[in-house]
């Protein structure tokens, strides 16, 4: 089991009572917050066998609160080195720490965006670009499972909005 970090955008900001219901539904490993663009999302660190299973379990719990649903799934750009290692899949946190400290590699690892006691937060965009160009690592631009989950959530939203849920479900079974 690993801990997977991801973000699920909600259809709207939950009320305080709804936030408590989200917590009671099992989302005590997710934080409710919003962005400067007006969006509201859950920032999740979910333990599961895979990223897709982690996302699915969060989506089920969101739906248990009437009036709330997911409208998108993505990754935060801000990551710890542990998060970055899990997203990379082929480097350990220790490996990234050695690259960040200059103990290994050519140097020039991106500095943290912010540090708070023992929490150092980096930009995944900057880290992944540096790993591709300086270390030759093969990292896709977009995480495949995040892209799949986001596409599925958006399809589900459109199906619900057009009352075509059963038809879309059958379409996925035969496609």
């Amino acid at each position: 089991m690993s801990t997977w970090d991801f973000r699920v955008t909600l259809n709207r900001a939950p009320t305080d009572q709804e936030a408590d219901l989200l917590y009671e539904a099992g989302l005590d490993d997710c934080a409710v917050a919003g962005g400067p663009d007006g969006s509201t999302f859950l920032m999740c660190d979910r333990e599961s066998g895979s990223l897709l299973e982690a996302i699915m379990s969060v989506l089920v719990q969101i739906r248990s609160v009437d009036g709330l649903w997911a409208i998108g799934v993505d990754h935060d750009d801000a990551v710890t080195l542990g998060d970055a290692a899990r997203r990379h899949g082929k480097r350990t946190q220790a490996s990234l720490r050695q690259l960040a400290n200059g103990q290994r590699g050519p140097g020039g690892f991106p500095p943290p965006l912010v540090e708070a006691d023992n929490i150092s937060v980096y930009s995944w965009g900057e880290i992944s670009t540096w790993l591709r160009t300086a270390m030759g690592d093969d990292i896709p631009e977009v995480n495949r499972d995040i892209a799949l989950a986001d596409a599925a959530v958006k399809l589900a939203c459109r199906a619900r909005a057009t009352h075509r849920e059963d038809q879309v479900r059958r379409l996925l079974e035969v496609a």
């Binding site: 801990t3 305080d16 917590y23 934080a31 917050a33 400067p36 509201t40 935060d76 965006l113 929490i119």
Partner: protein
């Protein structure tokens, strides 16, 4: 400006100390339901709800610091508008 509230978890208090350095953020202690309180940005975004008993305090602390980085430019946006 940051309120004086202390959370029961040291990791979250450490995150609050960092947030204290960001003048556009305010930490509010309220103790309602499962919420210890929230962190508010002057941009008016949905505040970051701080749980009293998150499943993992370290991850919750990381989340609030991560969220704060997403609001790093809010003060500058407010000045420019």
């Amino acid at each position: 400006m940051v309120g004086r509230g202390r959370h029961q978890y040291n990791e979250i208090n450490a995150a609050f100390r960092r947030l204290r350095e960001i003048p556009t953020l305010t930490v509010v202690e309220s103790h309602n339901g499962h919420r210890w309180g929230w962190v508010r940005c002057i941009c008016g975004a949905t505040p970051f709800k701080v749980w009293s008993t998150p499943r993992n305090a370290g991850n919750h602390a990381k989340a609030v610091v991560t969220w704060a980085t997403g609001h790093a430019r809010c003060g500058k946006s407010e000045e420019e508008s």
